[in-house]
Symmetry: C2
Amino acid sequence: MDVARSELFETGTPVACASCQARHGVVCGALSNGQLRELNRHSLRRKVEAGCEIIAQGSESSFYSNIMRGVVKLCKMMQDGRQQIVGLQFAPDFVGRPFVRESTLSAEAATDAEICVFPRNLIDRMISETPELQRRLHDQALKELDAAREWMLTLGRRTAGEKVASLLYLIATHAEPQTATSTAFDLPLSRAEIADFLGMTIETVSRQMTRLRKSGVIRIENFRHIIVPDMDELERMISA
Amino acid sequence: MDVARSELFETGTPVACASCQARHGVVCGALSNGQLRELNRHSLRRKVEAGCEIIAQGSESSFYSNIMRGVVKLCKMMQDGRQQIVGLQFAPDFVGRPFVRESTLSAEAATDAEICVFPRNLIDRMISETPELQRRLHDQALKELDAAREWMLTLGRRTAGEKVASLLYLIATHAEPQTATSTAFDLPLSRAEIADFLGMTIETVSRQMTRLRKSGVIRIENFRHIIVPDMDELERMISA
DNA sequence: ATCTCTGTTTGATCTAGATCAAACCATACC
DNA sequence: GGTATGGTTTGATCTAGATCAAACAGAGAT
């Protein structure tokens, strides 16, 4: 499943920045036309399939990327195999860690995804030359910090039922298409991944999902597709 | 116990930047002599006692501060009273959240402490004028993010015994004075606070502490003072 | 259509940690 | 000295969630 780091640079298609949805995102939105042209020449757009490891825990990575489509999970693993997902990133988030050489976590495509890969040293140079880029990356780091701390509350103090509701709520509010009250989306995570995100077992995840289903808070189609008839109802399950 | 925000500005003693231990810290280390003089004129040094709330969850705060002495805990509280400590800050850390008006967490002195209080708008201006300051704050945000994610692993996937060992290890490695192998320190947190940091109950915390004591990994004097004869031994309890 | 194979649900049982309750122990105050 | 007081430990019991085990369901492959 893994993709060697070099391979990520060797394959892929050229980038069309002008028509890119991330043109005004965290990174590219901070760049001048000249910078963007330079970045364009050295970047590649790549499809990665679900399960593909983009950055490996404990390794040095020589690139950053933008998520163009799909969901990426950030994982920390212990030697004995216990695993914790510590964050999810959605398009058009930026993935990578300025300043630090070695990653303390792995980033892995949770769904089939598309990423736009940048050489690390090029971006590092642009950060040092572009205060606005620095500001935006700083701002994203603070948002991720808030999200991490919010999830610490979920991990430490919420019950199994509240945890699953929190996860569904998180995904529902980050998935794209929503009608007025009702919301539908595909879960980007398997039951095992949900368990690793919530710090519990797949059996408990499954039981809590059927509890939510039987109480009418959600409908489940084909294991992965979730319909939330009333988001307020779901929100109430969290006791935020 | 709480200190009104305005009060934090009204009382306190002038700052002596030249001889200050935080002179080369995250914030002040990035400033020119001129900036430092200006900051000096508008800052105050204050003692705060254990339990004093420095920033309240859900409120706007009009200042930032440096911790000069003591330990500050960052807490998130649910309406029903459940609480989770999401981080500890040690001297000479910076406390505050640039860019964001309303705090999603509270900051409270865990021990008697001393802080150096800066007006928010002054620092915000200096951030926009000083790329080096921005870089350092960005760097600190990334360090806090790493720490938060590391703790997510502890909350989600470690056992009660491993959790307590993790906490002792965290504090031991942040407390100042250490000899070659053996380490001694005062716990900055009560059993109740430890429980809120580890997502468990005080009884379980207490039981795990006595387990560690009886197995010789730690010695406990006067509830708060901890001696770790062999840090490697403690580290082994974590199964990092 | 049948047979994997992998992910999911459901059921039965067990246990780590929570809860309930009491004893303990410093410190401060009368 | 006694005696409140707040934090801490220890003990007895309970339970939410883990573990063990089996059935189930969809997607490919033959």
